[in-house]
């Protein structure tokens, strides 16, 4: 054993990001963990708050209202066309923060790593997070890493928390939808869920369909500037458009009437949904938002959305109506009406 007194500088072999794997030691609080933090997280997320190396981040506050949101990210496969769990973990939380009309300020990230995860995968994921955070200029200022035994995780789980500040005069909330309001969606629906499904089932015959994962802060900022009185914003992630609209209808105590022909859906997505037996209204999105505003604001809002790269395909897809049952209905392309109900359990494909 080495005598402590004799030790001057300890040579530590750098982490092997080519062939190395996550080991239990990377989470046990020892040197291996410090090494992982220094050589990967600190280098990638690089900012003054994080480099204080404290158990917490101390940051300047703001006067006025602030928002905070947290989101855990689990996805199989970890890498998929259009993104990976790293991008998703930043975009998902930032989007939840900005759906209040807020400007995102800080993020935190907690990692649960599964023993055996290739370090190259972890590096790629962390670099994606860094790139996503850099793009929106929101630093990841504190974090945590735990390692669980092989078989107890699914590669990596990431929980992120975001803090933002709400500009004066903005009151966006899911209970503010009123009869007569217009419902807008920022683009094609179902891209993320179907991209993941195709990657998971190894169904590649639909050509390239990419996840829509994106941070919506820029789009929201321009929307809020144009129409400060937006009533509701929501990103239709799990459960898709249908779940998000049902939640809003319930919270506001109103009904909704959608027009199927106005809902933007990519042809590959509707084809894949046909094949897999899914309804695109229930498929997840990661870079789309629903906006509900007064009918007077609707056209202006649509115009600024269409002018933004993430709102190119935005459309007015329906309106809020009076309904004590809070049903979300849809006028089908076919000319009939149907209920767009809550999803029961998971979407499972039909047999014939």
């Amino acid at each position: 054993m080495q005598q402590p007194g004799k030790r001057k500088t300890v040579y530590t072999r750098p982490l092997d990001f080519k062939k190395g794997r996550v080991e239990m030691a990377h989470g046990s609080g020892g040197r291996a963990m410090t090494q992982l933090i220094e050589q990967l997280f600190m280098r990638s997320f690089d900012n003054a708050f994080l480099s204080q190396m404290n158990d917490q981040a101390i940051f300047p506050g703001y006067s006025g209202r602030m928002v905070m949101s947290t989101d855990s990210h689990v996805v199989t496969p970890l890498f998929f066309p259009g993104g990976d769990i790293g991008y998703l973990s930043v975009h998902g939380t930032v989007n939840d923060v900005v759906m209040s009309g807020a400007e995102p300020c800080y993020l935190s990230a907690g990692f649960i790593l599964e023993e055996g995860l290739p370090l190259s995968d972890l590096k790629r994921i962390v670099e994606s997070m860094a790139a996503a955070a850099m793009e929106i200029a929101v630093p990841i200022i504190t974090g945590d890493t735990k390692v669980v035994e092989r078989g107890s995780g699914d590669g990596v789980f990431i929980t992120t928390t975001g803090i933002g500040k709400v500009p004066e005069g903005i009151h966006i909330s899911a209970e503010r939808a009123k009869p007569g309001d217009k419902i807008l969606v920022s683009g094609t629906i179902g891209d993320h869920g179907i991209a993941i499904m195709l990657a998971r089932e190894d169904l590649s015959f639909y050509g390239t369909l990419e996840s829509d994962t994106a941070s919506l802060h820029g789009l929201v900022a321009t929307m809020v500037r144009t129409a400060p009185d937006i009533h509701v914003l929501r990103d239709p992630t799990r459960g898709g458009l249908a779940a998000a609209l049902n939640e809003i209808a319930q919270q506001s105590g109103v009904g909704m009437m959608l027009y199927e022909k106005s809902i933007p859906i990519k042809e590959q997505v509707s084809a894949a949904c046909e094949f897999l037996g899914f309804d695109p209204l229930y498929v997840a999105n990661e870079g789309k938002l629903i906006a509900i505003c007064s009918s007077e604001d609707a056209d202006n809002l649509l115009a600024v959305m269409n002018a933004h790269p993430l709102g190119r395909d935005a459309a007015i897809i329906g309106e809020v109506i009076e309904d004590t049952h809070s049903f979300v209905q849809m006028e089908t392309r076919f000319g009939g009406k149907r209920v767009v109900d809550w999803l029961s359990g998971d979407q499972l494909p039909r047999i014939c």
Binding site: F334, I351, C352
Partner: protein
């Protein structure tokens, strides 16, 4: 041609609706049964009922594979799921059906059973080849559409000499179910249920053809129109049935000519005949024991028969007493006639099989009809206020 949009064209739908409105006899009612769950699904998903006059009544038939699976067979599946080292491969819809004591394959999976959702029988075979140390059982259910793919994997497994792959065969036959409904006392003798004509199966008919329906048309004097699963197919089929009924004809007509031939897919039929044989009788949920209505694996393929390998007992388990799935599947009762509909039995917590699949009459009605009634009620009270 864009196959998805072309058969969902609203303008064409309104044209057909206008024709139906002109051609119906306003002094009578039309009771039409869509046999297949696929049609039930299309009717509710596209709001077809809104385009039909009030005197056309659609009755949802039993053609929903998971709806007619009897409790005993489901219990067998649960038994298989409990066996150590067994991997069960199942189509998605089947996973959620509850057993009499509240189990389901989905719950078994949560408890640690190895149950994989697959999209095709070929995936089950692949899983068997990848896991030679496990017994892989494919839960084969469905009508004629899914039967040929099951036959195919059994033959492949034999060629490959697999010793860890079996099929739990629950395949049932459409024509037997239709005759059973038509021969039921409620329809034939008591006249309690009126049934004027059938929208015939889409995918099933691509396999068996249109010829097998000739018997019903002649023997029971009921018109049959075979139709695709797209909403325009359904509308056109309804128009064709109205025309037959108005002319007092009872013929088999084929609206789904883009996929159905008179004698069907002979290659698939030969494959099925090579691997499967008729069961003397089989229990259907809702219809009871129906003679010669299902298939079993022939003895020369018994190495691939899960019933044979695992010596599964034949179980007959009664439905929950309050559940009216049986009468609903025969068209005798309407979902709203069931006491537990929408209360104890919902899509979140289904008691009966008709509430499980989106093809089931109760689930379709829960999603669609419930809101129609609420709306009618609103309109009426709205009018009363004025």
């Amino acid at each position: 041609m864009k196959y998805i949009d072309a058969f969902r064209d609203g303008t064409l739908a309104r044209k057909i609706a206008a024709k139906i409105a002109i051609e119906i006899n306003p002094n009578r009612d039309y009771y039409l049964m869509e046999f297949c769950g696929g049609h039930t699904h299309a009717i509710s998903r596209y709001g077809i009922a809104d385009l039909l006059p009030d005197n056309i009544h659609m009755i949802h038939g039993p053609g929903c594979p998971v709806c007619v699976l009897p409790m005993g067979r489901l219990e067998n599946m649960i038994q298989l799921a409990r066996m150590p080292g067994v991997i069960l491969c199942s189509y998605g819809d089947l996973l959620r059906i509850p057993t009499a004591n509240g189990h389901s394959l989905l719950k078994m999976k949560a408890q640690g059973a190895d149950i994989r959702m697959i999209y095709s029988s070929a995936e089950a075979l692949k899983i068997a080849r990848q896991n030679p140390q496990n017994q892989v059982v494919f839960l084969a259910i469905g009508f004629e559409t899914t039967t040929a793919p099951s036959a195919d994997v059994i033959k492949q497994a034999q060629t490959l000499g697999l010793t860890n792959f079996t099929v739990f065969c629950n395949h049932v036959l459409t024509p037997s179910a239709i005759s059973h409904i038509l021969q039921s006392p409620e329809i034939r003798e008591l006249g309690l249920v009126r049934l004027d004509g059938f929208i015939g199966p889409a995918h099933v008919s691509t396999i068996i053809g249109s010829a097998p329906y000739e018997y019903f048309a002649q023997e029971f004097q009921k018109p049959v129109v075979i139709a695709g699963f797209e909403p325009l197919d359904v509308m056109q089929a309804i128009l064709m049935l109205i025309r037959q009924l108005n002319d007092n004809r009872a013929e088999v007509e084929n609206e789904f000519t883009r996929a159905v031939l008179p004698f069907g897919n002979l290659k698939a039929q030969m494959l099925v005949a090579e691997v499967f044989e008729l069961r003397r009788s089989f229990e259907w949920r809702g219809l009871g024991v129906v003679p010669y209505s299902a298939l079993r694996i022939k003895s020369n393929f018994s190495d691939f028969d899960a019933e044979h390998r695992f010596e599964l007992p034949s179980l007959s388990i009664a439905d929950n007493k309050a559940c009216e799935c049986g009468a609903i599947l025969r068209g005798v009762k309407h979902p709203r006639d069931c006491k537990i509909f929408g209360t104890a039995c919902t899509p979140e917590n289904p008691v009966g099989s008709c509430m499980v699949s989106s093809e089931g009459a109760c689930a379709a009605y829960y999603r669609y009809g419930r809101f129609r009634e609420a709306n009618n009620h609103c309109n009426k009270s709205h009018m009363a206020n004025h």
